[in-house]
Subunit: 459 residues, 3 copies
């Protein structure tokens, strides 16, 4: 009769052997946490330790024996020891023969050793069946029970029976095992918890490049040019004024780059006339980090909002408006109300506010729990339709901000236009192409291609 | 011996037949994703395809055969084909006899066909047992592993053994099956992924009606009236000034409507003297969309905060305050400091900030992951007590904003009061009724009724 | 053959007895919700009720019988009745003998009765096996399916076979059972849903103490002192000006207190020379509520941002700047532009914005769904490195805000420095100690101690 705690008893309830015994080598943080969790889920635990007497921190109900005695008690032995101490296991080769050894170890660096820890363990104890598991779960997550998205436990191993046993234990702990194949997959599994935001690398570097370029561009226009021509010391503008040009342009560019790969993919499919050819690798990779590009864009937009809202608090702005008013009072000058200026000013501010509001909505629906609570039709509605509306509003905000001075030659300094003009290039181009793509003639062809029609198909 | 991967092996580990074979008809996006996921969870997969040779995109380890050969290999056949192509299955009726067919299809529109896809399949292949499942899971969710809240897989079918087999597969993939009954439930299940925010319809339409009405009300008061009487062109106020009256009033009204059904329900229970009579349908439906009403209110409040914080940046405001200062300087007029104006101004701003802060807290606790991390006593504390505090602060904010001009007749234009007075009607009425309801005499009776006491009970 | 719905059928599918029958005593809200959920997961349900005829609200497919008849139909009986009515169960002692009784009850107050409800039930029906379960799940969560983080169901009982049966039911409903031991654990389990944010108590009281102290400190300096010496009525400053000093100082202090226990722990480990001695209890408890301290700090920082952004809207600020400008115009006084003031003003504002931005990032990664989507290396990077960067930026923001007046004696009123000077004490001290701790000599020793080296070790 099976021994897992998954089985219901027959009506007569006379099963005596209910609990499977699992052995854990090692009494460190992770070994103790895993043992306590398995006790709570109905297993019997036997610890193997160098010092069977010193066991004050172990959970109640677990035995502590020497390694060889503990190994005899169970089929499955979880090796909760650092790789550097694996060599002592060679002394236990006869005891471990035919057992299942579960390698849960992690290294400190990617590629710290030529072979993965699991393969090294398999070399040391060739008679045992080594299965890699549990290395993506932290001891803290096991203790606190916060196991929601780290519910996936990657499992790999050469022997499929051994893998099944370990996958059953994983399920009994309330986690979801993911079979990654043979033991050669262990290298990839061991790399997983050492990664630091891999999908964010490209968007982050791209943002840094954009920011640095735009910063120097603005410094040339706003600090160096006035110094050369008017001997004005505008260096203080590098604290708020110049970042408040760099951040919004970066945000708008990144937001346009979120939707650009979709447009490029549509053009590719129209050009090739089929949906069955793979996209180029760079386009695939770009499509995979669209969410990160969008969230970075939201971060820059949020900074832009904060930098804009503090404008009236700044000493420079208060001094300038005070000076203007004093001059106007002393000269008794008239300052008639310009309705067009009021419309322009209120319009671009209102467009910016509405664009930022929708942008925050997009960000909120990117949160894992919210994006999981909506079905995929709702998700596509928000991310695609509301996303394009956000892009349109933010582009309109920038265009109206330019106002009447938009393309006037008097605004060029050393033939360089204002920075926001640069920021408008990608979004405007993209919106024009997208507008062409939603024309009925083009859209019909694209829909047919996406439903399987091929221009050059032979079937 | 059972063949699922849920079983632990006996100590001797000599079970050879471990993996259940499942057949998938169709090699499109979803068929491939589902096949790969099932391979990772320990199943053997056999694909049935029109072109058994063209199989370059299929996951490793899966066989590809013709439909009839693939169908012979397994008990369970997942039909990953569009409904429009179901008719070829009639040729395979003898092979499919007695098998379990899993219908995973979705349509493009609600009620696109008179009967559900699952019932149509059951008509085509009457000898098979049709089970509806998996149609709420997207291929992307299967691949990326982001399966948290789409963990629920709705299952329905006429044969309970076939349903159990499919529910076991669902559990082995780490999902939770929900038995919805017989195959007649398939129509409802197929409607589920086509819905677009069904609970948000009523709150959204209500907000739109409120906004449009208040917009025209404010236009009459703030644009048309000054034009008729003073020939002033105030049209630019439609960009920011008027939205900044429409949004806060809509927010306050929607927030009051979140708590009003609870008050109405309490009055109904007091009036009827029992808790065992059902509420009217409109009250039930209103209670179900309270969360959506509250989140919409938070959205409008956030817009109001942004529109308010940009006030000093607007050209109109800068021109007006500059003009005021210049006039005062030229006329050498005294402008003594009014402590009561300072108190009023600072008070209503502070009340607004505190109300908005609590409102944001309410919104954060509405996020799925946060609301699941608190127990229901904590959730009720935040949503009920802090919610009423938010309503009180926001109502006080509006009352103090009115200040001394609140009900003065000089503020009526064409006998229409200022818009914020309209917005105060529902919240103030509600708070008064709630205050009456928490009086000890009334509250005691209500608590007894809610614990089961009936005024006219015969027992 | 087992009867749970977890089993896959053999290939021949001739198992007839598929569904386990469970009995539920009581037809209140929770009994009905639990019964419906269990029906959906494949169980047969039999209700026991006082009034077997009045069953209009029960789910379809469930039988309703009298208590004694219902009890005979099943092994497992869920007691969905309030503790106050348990005494009638003594009449059914013979029928209930040997059955599994599942106690799901909750009380209204912690320690409302001397013994737990489960132990009381065990005293009333000594022949049955009492298991405590399900009391942390609400009826609403069962109905709506929102079962993500309340997935954990605490289970305890004296008989391990009975516990296993109940744990199987829990798993079949898609929840995760957590075995808490024998029935004596029931008291703790029954306390769990009555708690109201237990980890937030200490941080909340600490914040309240800080706020009240700082409020009175600022009132003395900013309201009483000017009244005593200049007869100025500054009471209106209590609405916005004084809170805008109290909140940021509280935020900065709480943020420093988030990282201080880590620094103290490091000093302790260096002093003792080992990592194997337990920390004092107050340090352990402090470490456990670091997340709550940080989130409270973020809340106060958010309030500070809002109070700062409304500065230009306040009547007092507008009156003061208008007065200044008018005086300057009338006296025709020069007001030269001070570049150093512009740098100082822009710098501290920019530092504050960047610090707040990172603070919001920290808060977002504290959301349960986001913190579960990152691995522990990424989580530590954000919370530790970005956290210290946030602390440095906010401390620099406060230091630059002080500017040239920072420690000048002329800013002392009654020998009391400005409030922000008080707020700088803890952060600056902490950053200095942390700077010492990351010096290579000290850091190497600490790393060795944390990897297991002991200064006084005998091995």
């Amino acid at each position: 009769m099976e021994k897992t705690c998954m089985d219901a008893l027959p009506l007569t309830m006379n099963s005596s052997e209910k609990q499977e015994i699992v052995c854990i080598f090692g009494t460190g943080d992770f070994g103790r946490s895993l043992g306590l969790k398995m006790l709570q889920c109905g297993y019997s635990i036997v610890f193997g330790s160098r010092n069977p007497q010193k066991n004050n921190l172990l959970p109640n109900g677990a035995e502590v024996l020497s390694y060889s005695e503990a190994a005899k008690k169970s089929d499955i032995i979880i090796i909760a020891i650092h790789r550097e101490h694996y060599d002592f296991l060679t002394e236990l080769t006869e005891v471990l023969n035919g057992k299942i050894l579960v390698d849960i170890s992690n290294n400190l660096k990617i590629n710290q050793y030529p072979e993965s820890n699991a393969e090294y363990l398999a070399q040391l104890v060739p008679g045992a069946h080594v299965v890699k598991a549990f290395n993506t779960i932290s001891a803290w997550a096991l203790q606190s029970g916060a196991l929601d998205a780290s519910r996936q436990v990657f499992v790999c191993g050469n022997d499929s029976n051994a893998k099944q046993r370990v996958m059953d234990i994983v399920r009994n702990l309330g986690l979801t095992p993911m079979d990654q194949g043979s033991l050669t997959a262990a290298k990839e599994i061991e790399k997983y918890p050492l990664q630091l935001f891999p999908m964010w690398r490209f968007p982050f570097y791209l943002s840094a490049v954009l920011c640095i370029f735009l910063f120097f561009y603005c410094v040339i226009r706003d600090v160096i040019y006035p110094y050369v021509y008017e001997k004005k010391d505008n260096t203080f503008r590098m604290a708020i004024s110049i970042p408040n040009r760099v951040f919004p342009i970066t945000a708008l560019t990144l937001l346009a780059l979120v939707y650009l790969p979709g447009v490029i993919a549509a053009i590719l499919q129209l050009y090739r006339g089929t949906k069955y050819r793979r996209f180029p690798d760079w386009l695939d990779h770009w499509m995979l980090c669209r969410k990160q590009l969008g969230l970075l864009a939201l971060g820059f937009a949020f900074l832009h909002v904060l930098y804009t809202l503090v404008i009236p608090i700044r000493y420079y702005v208060r001094w300038r408006s005070g000076n203007l008013t004093v001059t106007q009072a002393i000269l008794k000058k008239e300052n008639p109300f310009s309705t067009s200026s009021a419309w322009l000013s209120d319009s671009y501010v209102a467009l910016g506010i509405l664009g930022f509001f929708l942008f925050v909505l997009l960000g909120i629906t990117s949160l894992p729990s919210v994006s999981n609570a909506v079905n995929w039709r709702e998700f596509r509605f928000v991310q695609s339709k509301l996303g394009y509306l956000t892009l349109i509003l933010c582009t309109a905000h920038t265009l109206v901000y330019g106002g009447k001075r938009f393309l006037s030659p008097s605004n060029l300094r050393w033939y360089l236009p204002a920075a926001y003009v640069l920021g408008l290039i990608i979004p405007c181009t993209m919106l024009v192409i997208k507008f062409v793509l939603i024309m009925p003639c083009v859209d019909n062809t694209l829909t047919r291609i996406r439903q399987g029609w091929e221009r050059n198909s032979k079937h």
